[in-house]
Subunit: 432 residues, 4 copies
């Protein structure tokens, strides 16, 4: 069981999070773990190595350089597994990570064991070093982020195979027989000057703060995300062929790539006599399945989410609207997260009704930007978040691939408007 | 003399604005007017035709279809000079506008005369039709936007010629002998819940409203834009070689394009014995000139403006901060605009000290987005602004190429973060 | 009347060829002459200037540097109008020639007059200088090549305009009413050791020699080029959809560009009740016209010509086969050339039956390569031909856009296998 | 020991060739075998599978469809491992072969065992079926071609790793201490009408025939390939910076890719005090090594080979010149082939003096084209060679990575003019 947020520090958390990463590749071969299906995705092996590099670079190298067990495991890893920290040094080109057949998966596992053991020993040696504990905690949250990426990247890789192999049988169950769609209802939220952003105790990434005031006009949010049946209606109404619903750049992107459906949907050939539902199939981490109308639509770009909302006479919420509504609702940060072992969004009620946390990341209309007063951390770790604050849009709420305990109401995920391989869906909003 | 904002309606304004467009191409040959130097820029001839198409499509075709003088001037122009209005019909591919050698410049001028005359007659015939007057006013502001684009696009075209020809001799004077740099001072602004956006009387584009409340923390703005001397110091300090100052996407862009200076700067070959200032030259609409340290730096991308601000220990303002400060200062919307005939930013004092309006557009850190409650206009005109609200950044304040009377405190200009061919500079901000 | 090959030297030829270039742009505006529709094509103005640059650089600059009338007309032209002679200096980037709005067409015409006058004077002053006369003759043949390119480049430019404007009305007449297709007959040619290549008197480009022996197996050539009706049958038989007919690289190219017909063919919308012939239209220098089944098919790539030949159970000839057959036939080098004022290939009999010379360039299966013993000329002029001898295929026979008197049996034209904007067709060959 | 050409049929050859492929991957992990470093290269696993697919598709499926052991091993392999045979069916996209993590290497090995066993049984059952034996022989030669590609593709993959790992230690020995360069001598060859092409007994690919007559002028060939010391002199003389030596397309390619040395050469950082030789290192299948001046230069593109020859005052031979000289010399087809276990070209004398066969493939100036009378085989196997006969250049003689027994004097290898990852070098020629 993955620890809850406040526990994500200390040796027990370290062991649990590190083991969880390793458990994720258990269904995969070394070959699966080495391949890279597109520049945005990384091989699973690279995720396993990079998350170790993070501890080695930002924890072990800083606290224990002269001590023998903390010597670099392999000097070459410094560049090979550096993602984007210019202050640390060079980086092996991102788009070529699939070419790193050396070190092998077994060697990376040995690297992991070394880093976990050394970090464990370091924590034992400096039990009262708050800065050390803070960086270890950051490393654990960092590793949890890569756990989700590992799943989305493997999903993309498997989707490129004409046989659409499954990552794990049974991890994407259909809605129960007889289940019916939950009605869409609007939940009004009063506006005014409200506070958002991480304010207080517990871990948060630097981009979640400072806590600050914003002014919100009254608005309403839907009680649940948009589902496949609703999105299919958009497609059948010609939504992908009508530029009026699309942002101009989104329309160009859709035309250039000849898109007419979400990333992992595909029309079934023999649909003549079938029901409308069975005309579509969806690739999941359990392989190809009939589209389930009740489950949240997922793997949408910002452009598609925005176009759907416009067609539906609504809009996307801002991230402040999303966060304030979540805080106002006062719900615990629980829901359908990855520890359930179900790696596909489920219909409302399977885990909770509102699906506010977990299930699907929800696109907001907010461009990813610094909060007022934001300052990146000093040193190389300061490159973690701040330098990406341009041309990306914020997603909120976590997904079925997010580790339990990783999320908060103030959590800000962000991707380019064209990104579709994350577990990204949407919840409608409107002015009130 | 170009009319002031509140006068931009009626026949006199129509005549003045239309004539101003035609005056802009007086220094150019038909060949100059036909060429297109990059997909983002349009030929001058196309600007002249498209601004006429706008009146023909949104005014003449709507009010007077059965009346003979208002028949389409040429049915082919409907697609040829449609910029991006999908609801009107097809569009000739943007990147190929330079291939439209037909109609000739002379034919486009005849088209202009026809449209101006017919619109004049229509206004005379329906003196009390508010909707007509509103669309004519929109057409005039639209044409003013293209007047600025015509200048920036011609500047880019001429810059591609190895001889760096001038658009107009003398339109970019150097700072007076003996002038010295104005000291940079910070002007504190109190925050709180403030209102921004166009609220009331007079014309504004739909994207400037609705007027709405935002919460601002206290902040300070510089008293003037950054100048060439300051920006040169950034270059000489290695600013283009240090990733720490740059957004990640900006750094990649800078590396991919091997950039090391603003768009129109070039190092002078024989700089060994020269003063540092004379080591650089700048291409202007008056041709190549020695870099003038006192004048505002111009033709920066968002990425460069942001990197400079970070290096300077400051940041870009948000558009709400910019607008509120402008309103708080209570200055009239006057300054160095294009009607002065000086088509290059001048040192402070030449027109005014603060250079708040005119001179250079100032990048803000705000992604271009809909204001709360924003609704695009119904019909094809609704495509004017709303569909571009993604992956662009807002610039404020107008430039030396903006027609006088075109600007307002609430005016929102917007370009992609890589755009450099506009008269774009920056003013520093910081938390207070 | 354009002079015949053996006359292409001396002052009279100079005047005639220079005037012919200028006559070609008479139907065009300065705007037409300035535009560039693709990197492979050049603006008409550029052709006019470059052919003058050739005389200035290789004749005037060499014979008369100290003499005042021969000073550079404009020092900037040295790079602006250099096509590809690295030994002369830099070259303005080929793909941006459409941006050279300066010098104007009028200035280029003045440049032409200057160069023509100075060369005339030089010839008068050195009547017995064989090297001078040889270079002037080379310059005249060079200019004739550009006369053909000027027409093909203008045709491409006009084809990009949705209204498909004509270069000259009436220059592409239809076949006479009642004309019928000439039967395809095979003309056997005995092989053996034969000689090809320019051997003797009169001008030839360096790539046409040395004359040398080759061994040919017996073969047969068709009596005329493939016509539109035959090529349409290939299309209707699914020729563009069957990879078996295509070279692998050609098939990839066809798929990548979604090609299904020759460059300037277009299906007519309202073809339901029409005859098959009228289902297609073809863009010509006289504008869009119904496809004429009897006229030679033109504007084919090598890949299309080769695929057609394979489908027809035949093959393309080698250039040696083509040349030897032409010499064996003993026909005069006459036919449908550009001086006729008919700028589109005509049905056999309009000019001659065999259409061996003129009408359409005929793709051969020969890669453009040096003949045994080939040596480029010394100096910059040596860059004329030799450095292009890779990845291009030879075409033979001239076209309706080739100046009369320009061609010889040994003449080698060459283009990349994807090039379609030349007047390129094919004649079938087979083993005998 | 690999069988000689005439033995390459029957069960013993089948076993030997199939085992040789499997031995080639012995030094590699499953991860190494799955990666693809560029679209032109394939993963080692793909080579192992595709060569089995070839037997399954063209032998097993044709001779024994109803017989149980010959059922498709896996129906999905039909498309997955089809390289380019359109007549067989679809092909998995070439550039994505590195994404095929399924089937695993172990499964591919099982596929190989199945195919080898079934083919063995088929041969036993039909001992007198000449067509069967011919296709098995074709399959074996096909597999040998892929053995060489497997080595060149793995070399390219390993070269992308910053640590430059070796495929096999010791497989690229340096020249013996005290060895000196063999003097370059010219061997004159009389011309006339000669016959080339495969004429008679034994296996040959279809593209090697028919045997036919060509006319050759007298010429001379160098006694050995160009070596590293000679090529280094070309570099040091500025050969990569002087366009006069280069074909125009080659010069553009060199500039666009900023090339200044052969593919696997790299300048050594600390060369200040070193000897000129040690200023360069070369990546080999044994890892990075100091450049050995006496060994043949290898991994050149056609453009580089051609530029070197021009600089050296010589030229590349035609393929007819190469083949005729080889036949005239009357040497046995022996030399430095891959069975020696030395996977890098050695200095003359290590295997033989002339290095006519083996060592390095030698670029010829001949574009890859059909011989007179060439007809591809009927059916899908006809796609083997013919459809690639455009925009490629012929190489002759085999290399140190070619299986012994695979080559003949008439053997035609072919690659694009930019290809550098094969073991490609050159031998100079000149007119006599």
């Amino acid at each position: 069981m993955t620890p809850s947020p406040r526990e994500l520090e200390g040796v027990a958390s370290l062991q649990a999070v590190r083991q969880r990463s390793e458990a994720l590749v258990a269904p995969l071969s070394a070959e699966d773990c080495g391949a890279q299906s597109m520049p945005d995705a990384s091989p699973a092996k690279w995720h396993l190595a990079h998350t170790s590099w993070f501890f080695e670079t930002f924890v072990l190298a800083r606290w224990a350089p002269p001590f023998k067990p903390f010597l670099p495991f392999d000097a070459a890893y410094r560049d090979l597994f550096n993602s984007y920290y210019n202050a640390v040094g060079e980086q092996f080109p991102r788009a070529q990570r699939g070419l790193l057949t050396r070190p092998s998966l077994a060697e990376v596992m040995a690297y992991r064991a070394h880093v976990t053991a050394a970090t464990t020993e370091l924590l034992a040696r400096h039990p009262d070093d708050a800065a050390l504990r803070a960086l270890v905690t950051l490393g654990l949250h960092h590793e949890q982020q890569h756990q989700e990426l590992l799943l989305t990247d493997i999903k993309h890789l498997l989707s490129c195979h004409p046989q659409r192999p499954a990552y794990a049988a049974g991890c994407a169950p259909a809605s129960p027989v007889g289940a019916s769609a939950q009605a869409l209802r609007w939940q009004a939220v009063e506006g005014g000057v409200v506070s958002i952003g991480h304010g207080g105790e517990g871990f948060a990434f630097d981009n979640e703060g400072p806590r600050h005031r914003v002014f919100l006009a009254p608005y309403a949010l839907a009680n649940r995300p948009v589902n496949n049946g609703e999105y299919r209606a958009f497609i059948e109404a010609g939504g992908y062929d009508e530029p009026a619903w699309w942002l101009s750049e989104g329309w160009d992107w859709r035309c250039r790539n000849a898109l007419s459906q979400p990333l992992y949907w595909q029309r079934q050939a023999s649909s003549a006599t079938s029901s409308p539902t069975s005309a579509w199939a969806e690739f999941t981490l359990a392989g190809l399945r009939p589209l389930d109308a009740l489950q949240p639509v997922v793997h949408l770009s910002y452009f598609e989410a925005d176009a759907y909302a416009r067609w539906a006479g609504a809009r996307l919420p801002t991230e402040a609207e999303w966060e304030h509504a979540a805080l106002a609702a006062g719900e615990a940060c629980t829901g359908h997260f990855a520890d359930a072992g179900v790696l596909h969004p489920q219909c409302p009620g399977s885990f909770d009704d509102s699906q506010r946390y977990g299930s699907v990341w929800e696109w907001t209309s907010s461009s990813y930007a610094a909060y007022p007063g934001y300052r990146p951390a000093a040193g190389a770790v300061g490159e973690y978040n701040g330098k990406f604050m341009v041309n990306q849009y914020v997603l909120r709420g976590g997904s079925c691939a997010t580790p339990a305990g990783h999320l908060r109401a103030s959590y800000r995920n962000f991707f380019a408007a064209t990104a579709r391989w994350q577990f990204s869906g949407l919840r409608l909003a409107m002015d009130d």
